[in-house]
Every structure is written in C-alpha cells, then in structure tokens.
C-alpha cells in the first residue's frame, strides 16, 4: 500500500505529487499545475500546463492574458483526469466562481486538497462538496475559535442601513476584486437594492466574466467622475466598490466624505478594523470560519488531517482534543490578508 506522503508532499513550490509529477497551486512556475481557484496567490502565470475548472481557466486568462500557460486543460466539476496514473478530480469548494478541491486518487488512497473553501451559501458559486477521504488537506486562514463569521444578510443590512442614514456620503466598500466583490453585489441585490452600484476600473473585467457565467449583478457603473462642477456629489448616497489597495490612492479622495467599509473576515477583530481605517466593517469572508473548519473535518472523516496556510496551532490543538490525527504542512507563499 502506498503511504499518503508518497502521493502528495509539501515542497517549497507547493504541494507536489511525485507519481503524477504535478503541483497543486504552485507558487512558482512548474511544468504541470493543478490550480484550485483564480486568486493570485494560488493561480500564477507561466506554468507549462494548467488543469483547472473552465471558470478558473477563464479567470486566469482574463487576469494574465491568453498566454498565461502553454497548455490549458479545463475540466468540469466531477470529471476525472488521469495524469501519469494518478486520478485527479475537481469538486466544488464554495470559495469563489470556479473554485475547486482537488481529489487525488491512487492505489486505493484518496487525498483531497481543499484549496480555499467555505461552507455557507454563496450565490455566485457552486456549494462545497464533502467527500470521505484518507487525507484532507485543509486551509486554516481563520483557524482560531474567535473567528465566527456572522450571517451575511445581517452584514449587508448594516451597509444598507448606513447608506440610508448618511445620504450625503459615499459608501466605499473595500472588497477583493475576484469573488468578494461579486458576491457582495449579488447579496446587495438579494436584499432588494436595485440602484446602480459603482465599481473601480480594476473590477470591470471580472464582473463581466461573472456575468458571462450567468451571475446577475444588476446595473453597474464605473466609479469615475463626470466632468464639471459638483461632480463629487454624483456619488453621494451611492455604494462604490473597489479593491482595498485603492483606498490609499487618490482614487478614494474623489468621493464625498466617504464611509470606508471593508468586507473581510478579519473585520471581526476590532483592532484590525481600526487599523484598516474601516468605519463600517463588514464581516464577510470567502473562507471557512472556525465552526466551518471543524465541521468540515467531521464531515469529511479523514484518517488524517493536514493543515496548510493560516493559523495552524489552534486547529492542531483542536484536532488533538477531538482525537483527529493531524499535522501542519507549513506551506509558504499563500497570503491570507486579502480576505
């Protein structure tokens, strides 16, 4: 019998499968990559071949241009591809559009690398699928019992209440350009808000892409100034969405007395929100919170739990208490600050 370590092993470039000779989410260029989802720290340009969902391939092409890899291998959820005798299947991870867990099977062993995931409902992507396995490799971005994301509707409610309360101010929502932004727009629509939402230029392409995949985002308009006096007030009472990095720019100064809102799981901790300068923190995350992480381990019933990027020590402690065999992988190169 093969040992799980012989099938997947942590390297400096990422998780490596020696018999299949491929990497999962490699952080530097490799010959063959399996990519879980389109976030920049997981999906990099320059690999020889990329196996990913159709949506993720499209996202990578939109971000990096058509030549991001020599060979594209789009796969549907549930479709199995054999790579050098190793079966690779992508199943939904519920993180962003096209996000997948990678099911790696060989010699009767099944290992699942979660990539990034969440368990709660997301109207912009397929829901996480749980599958029993020998090894479950989980992310641990919010692997501390203080992280319990509240209900999405409540957070969107906070935003819309504030928009009504401060009709002369613009609400500037900082959200990661891939996934978070579209999910928020969709949630705002579900809450009954149907006015135009203004978006930063960096988000246009990805919003278009989501639409092409059938996600209805309602009326969007560019967050640029029209000419002439008083243009600043064009955005009074409006919702503007931009990447958090744009908040420090001149870009943010064009809005009337903006209310900075950041949408992120980190907003749960007041000091973080304050440090970010968020006046209205929105606790919205595309990652599993503590309860989702521990529930998922129970759902997947792995013989072994491997923990990758994030806060490993608390999850390790939990595993010990729960009698789950676990080990930290200490993979490097993945950022968690964007969520």
């Amino acid at each position: 019998m093969a040992k799980p370590d012989d099938i997947l092993t942590p390297t400096r470039k990422g998780l490596y499968c020696p018999p299949g000779d491929f990497f999962i989410d490699p952080v530097s260029a490799v010959d063959r990559a399996v990519v879980t989802h389109g976030h920049a720290d997981h999906a990099r340009a320059g690999h020889g071949a990329v196996l990913a969902t159709t949506e993720t391939i499209a996202i990578m092409a939109a971000r990096y241009g058509g030549g991001f890899t020599a060979s594209r291998q789009p796969a549907a959820y549930g479709e199995t591809t054999r790579i050098n005798g190793v079966d690779v299947t992508l199943i939904p991870a519920g993180h962003v559009l096209g996000s997948a867990q990678v099911v790696v099977e060989r010699a009767g062993k099944r290992l699942i690398a979660s990539g990034d995931y969440k368990r709660r409902r997301d109207p912009t992507c397929a829901p996480f699928e749980a599958m029993p396995c020998d090894v479950f490799i989980t992310e641990a971005t919010f692997g501390l019992p203080v992280f319990r994301h509240p209900d999405d509707r409540g957070e969107i409610g906070k935003l819309l209440t504030s928009v009504r309360r401060f009709p002369e101010r613009a609400h500037l929502v900082g959200a990661y350009a891939l996934g978070k932004a579209q999910r928020i727009i969709r949630l705002i629509r579900e809450a009954g808000y149907d006015e135009a939402i203004y978006i930063h230029g960096a988000m246009q392409k990805l919003c278009d892409l989501y639409r092409d995949f059938g996600v209805d985002l309602g009326p969007l308009a560019p967050a640029t100034l029209s000419d002439g006096a008083g243009a600043k007030n064009d955005f009074a009472g409006r919702i503007v969405i931009g990447p958090p990095s744009a908040f420090a720019d001149k870009w943010a100064r064009r809005f009337p007395d903006p209310v900075p809102c950041f949408a992120s799981g980190w907003m749960r901790v007041r000091a973080r929100a304050k440090q970010r300068g968020a006046e209205l923190p929105l606790i919205l995350s595309d990652h599993a919170d503590w309860d989702e992480l521990t529930e998922t381990v129970r759902d997947m019933e792995p013989r072994e739990l491997w923990i990758t990027h994030g806060r490993e020590d608390a999850l390790m402690r939990w595993a010990t208490l729960a009698g789950v065999k676990a080990r930290p992988l200490s993979l490097v190169g993945y950022e968690d600050e964007n969520d």
């Binding site: 019992p145 203080v146 992280f147 007041r270 402690r317």
Partner: protein
C-alpha cells in the same frame, strides 16, 4: 443591548466628530427610556455599575473553552474583553438578550456571589458585539473616543437646546435622565438646573497670536499671571460644596482640604495649586507636586500635609446668591476683591493683577516670570462677560516658553540600557483639520523615573496595537495621554507627514488631567513655522 452595542461599535470606528454626534443623536431618538439614559451615563462615565473582575470572566470562559485554545486566541486578539466576546460559545436555547437597563439594574441589585451566574446567562443570550459591550461596561473599560462634552453636544442637537443649558443642569440630573429626555422631546418641563452647587460651563482663553498683540490695547485688558496648576471651579451654595475641574468633573473627594475651606456663598473660578507647607514666605510649588494629588479617589493624611492645596482665585461667577456672569470682567474682579478682603479664607487667595508700561515690558515679564509656578500671562478684556466656551477676542493666554505644545501620545517604544524594560521612547502627535492625529515628534527624556513608571503602566494598559517593540496606545479626543512638549524650534520638513520637524523636543510635563481633544492642532504648529 443590541442597539447600544451597535452604537458603540460605530462610535469606536468613526473618526469624524460630526458623524459621532449624528450617531448619538439618532440613538437617543430611536431608543426608549431608561436604556438611552443608561447608555448616556455609560458614555459620559457617570454610570455607577457593580464592577466585575476580569479574573471572574476568565474563569467563566475556561469552564467552556480549552485553556490552550483560549490563550492562542487571546494572544492573537490582544484584548481580553474582545477575545471573550468573540470566543464565547453561546448555548442555543430560549435565551432572551437583556436590555441595557435590565443589565445595570439587575447587577446593581444582585449579591456579589450571583455575578458569575448572571454574566454567563447574559453572555449566552448575546451576540459577539453585545458581549463586547457588556464586558467593557462591567469591567469599566469603555473607551469609545467620545467625551462627556461630545455626548452633551449630541443631546443638544437631538433636542434643539443650547449645550450650555445641558452642561449647567448636568449635575442636578439623575440617571437615567428621563426628566432630561422628556424636556428635550418637548414632553416635559425644563429640569431645574439650579440645584445648589451646579457646575457652570467655563470660559477659556485663546492663544495670543502676533496679530492679537498688535491690535491689543493695554488699557482695555486686565493682565494676570498664568498659574501652572489646573483650572477649577470652587462652589459653595446653600451648604453644597463642590470642586469641579474645567470639564465639570467633581474632584472634591481628592481635595478635602480645599472643600473644608469653602466657607462662603458663591462660585469662584481659579487655579488649583499646592504650596510648600514649610516655606516662609508663602511659596507655590511646581505642577509636578500638584500632580501627586490629581486623579485620586481619596487622599491620605500624609499627602494632605506634605502637599496642601489651595485655590488662587481670578474670577467670581456668583457671590452671595447673585449671578455675576453677565457683568463685565472689571465688575466681577471688583466684587472678587471685595469678597477676598472681607474675610481671609484659609485656602483661597487672589491672583494679583499686573500693570505694564508697554507691550515690551509685558513681553519681558512673560518671558521671565518671577516664579516657577507661572507659565506666562493671561489677558482678559475688561468688558468681557463670562461666556462659556472659547469666545474669540475676549481672553488670551500667552505662554512663557515660546515653543510649548500639548501633544497626544500615539506610540511608545521600549528604551535601551537600564530603561529596556520600560516603554520610554514616545511618539506624539497633534490634531489635523480632519480630526485625526498626525505624529510631529519623538521624545525620550524630560520625565522622572517615577513618571516613567506611570507612563509605562499607562502604555501597557492602553495598548491598541503592537508592531515589534512598538506599541500603539489609545489616542482619542476623550481618551489618551497628553504631553506638554517643549522644543527649541521648528523646521519645515517635507519628509515628515505632518510637514514639520521639531528641534530638541522633550517632555516638559505630563498632562494626566488634560483630555487629548484639547491638545494642540497642526495648524497652530504651522503658524509657529511662519512666525
């Protein structure tokens, strides 16, 4: 409790003063009695609530959470109340979150032994935001960047009433302020402010600028020394004796020696100072001696003897039942002199008025005053009536040291050598027009070892963030620590975010008494640059 928690959350993160006022006013409008009154008292820190020890909360949480998981989390979050509020595993069940008033009334009526059971029940019924508010409330750690003055301004806005009316009646009101809200909503009579001993909002001076000096007519102003103590209002009416700070905080409990001497009928405005009990002639001691007596709930006999306090009077707001505030300064001063000459009082004397031939003589006296306890001169228009706030063109202060500013401590860093276990290097800032603090300098000397220990303690207890050896401390208009910083000069510096760089800055004095909101503004510093 839910609305109160939401209000606090929003206030903590809102930098703009106007937006804070708006949030408060809306809360008052939307929240019924008695909750809004209790919330108001919590914010102005007038609330009396049975306190709960952090150790008790820790043991509650340890009953439900693995100690190691808790420690890992606490280490990450850095704040005990926040960690507990976030980590608390609520038990699903028929829990009803309590109203704010219910929490306060229940806790105050309960036996101490019932505390843990009550707290656990409430924490179970609440969400994380409410739990945070509850824990901050009962552990006395409510720091939300709102001063009592700002809360009163919001009340004024909410009820369309002058804020001075509210300040005047404040000490006559009882928590939860139902009478006040009824009046503000037009449903009730104006509460009787004039219960004996009420606080009169104080009149403040503007810093004297070059152009003011040019325009000044020496014959139209009264000139006094600017004493280096703290501004107080000593009140004695119908047997009620009070000593108020300039914010209206009653500090009488720490100054029984002064209270005992308020054997008159009236309201005196003056400087609280301490004198040397062994010196003849009478000698005022420097501010650092007075500091020993500040921020105390009570005082022991030893300190009363070694640091006796007195009031150096410079104004009378009321005497023998007659309100003098509408009278010109010259008349108030005359009445004050008559009052002082009638019968000497043990702990009250008169701040002398000064005469100068011309402005040069005035400038020379200001630069070299005859006493260490003098920090400059005060100029008051003889015709000025007593107007609360900081009216323009009435009173001026002209400090002795040309380069002295009040700045707010923002970051502290560990020192080197024998000070390596203390946070002894300080970065301080002043307020920008947008109401934010911008750092303007760094200093690591100018204080005694004793003071260093106290600042170090402040830093540790008020840390809001850490970056390596540096701690960020609480620095909000209503909360934080003010340094009086002395420096030799100011250079324009595009390298610094503030645009200015100080030469040889040092801590001149630690203003434990001063709310950061009253520290200097960047604008004032930039004016120095031009001058």
């Amino acid at each position: 409790m839910k609305d109160f928690a939401a209000l606090l959350e929003r206030l903590v993160l809102t930098p703009s003063r106007n937006a804070k006022i708006r949030l408060l006013a809306e809360y008052f409008a939307a929240t019924p009695d008695p909750d809004r009154g209790y919330a108001l008292a919590a914010i102005t820190r007038d609330l009396d609530i049975r306190s709960v020890k952090p150790a008790m909360l820790r043991s509650l949480v340890h009953e439900r959470i693995d100690a190691e998981l808790f420690e890992i989390s606490y280490d990450y979050v850095g704040d005990l109340a926040e960690t507990i509020s976030l980590i608390w595993p609520a038990r699903p069940g028929p829990n009803r979150p309590p109203a704010l008033g219910e929490v306060i009334e229940t806790l105050n009526a309960a036996a101490r032994a019932d505390g843990p059971r009550l707290m656990a029940g409430w924490l179970d019924a609440m969400d994380a935001g409410e739990r945070w508010a509850l824990i901050k409330l009962v552990t006395g750690g409510l720091r939300i960047g709102v001063s009592a003055r700002l809360a009163k301004t919001a009340l004024a806005e909410f009820g369309g009433a002058p804020v001075t009316d509210i300040e005047e009646m404040w000490h006559a009101l009882a928590i939860p302020y139902t009478e006040l809200f009824a009046w503000l909503e037009g449903r009730g009579e104006k509460p009787d402010a004039t219960s004996p001993g009420y606080f009169r909002p104080v009149m403040l001076a503007c810093p004297l600028e070059e152009k003011d000096l040019d325009a000044l007519d020496l014959c139209a102003v009264a000139i006094e020394w600017k004493w280096d103590g703290i501004r107080v209002q000593a009140t004695s009416e119908a047997g009620v004796r009070r000593l108020y700070s300039r914010n209206g905080d009653d500090i009488g409990a720490a100054f029984p020696d002064v209270i005992e001497a308020l054997d008159f009928e009236g309201v005196i405005d003056g400087e609280l100072l301490v004198y040397d009990p062994d010196a003849t002639p009478f000698a005022v001691r420097p501010f650092s001696e007075l500091q020993k007596r500040l921020n105390r709930k009570s005082v022991d006999r030893k300190l009363l003897q070694s640091c006796p306090a007195f009031v150096r009077a410079y104004d009378a707001l009321s005497l023998d039942g007659e309100d003098l505030r509408a009278s010109p300064f010259s008349e108030r001063r005359r009445r004050l002199e008559v009052f002082a000459s009638r019968r000497p009082l043990a702990r009250i004397d008169l701040s002398p008025t000064l005469d100068f031939e011309d402005k040069d003589a005035l400038a020379a006296a200001r630069a070299a005053p005859p006493d260490d306890a003098i920090e400059g001169v005060m100029l008051k228009r003889l015709a000025s009536s007593y107007v609360p706030g900081r009216p323009k063109g009435e009173w001026w202060k002209w400090k002795r040291e040309p380069f002295l500013i009040d700045a707010v401590l923002m970051y502290a860093q560990r020192g080197h050598g024998k000070r390596s276990s203390f946070y002894s290097d300080y970065t301080f800032g002043v307020w920008t027009d947008e109401g934010a603090l911008t750092p303007v300098g760094k200093a690591y000397f100018g204080f005694t070892d004793e003071e260093l220990k106290r600042i170090d303690k402040f830093v540790r207890e008020n840390t809001t963030d850490r970056f390596g050896p540096v701690r960020q401390v609480v620095a909000e208009p209503g909360d934080g620590l003010v340094f009086e910083v002395a420096f030799e000069g100011l250079n324009a510096s595009p390298r610094h975010k503030s645009g200015v760089a100080m030469r040889f800055p040092r801590i001149n004095r630690i203003r434990w008494d001063k709310p950061p909101g009253e520290a200097d503004r960047l604008e004032a510093l930039k004016r120095l640059l031009q001058g």
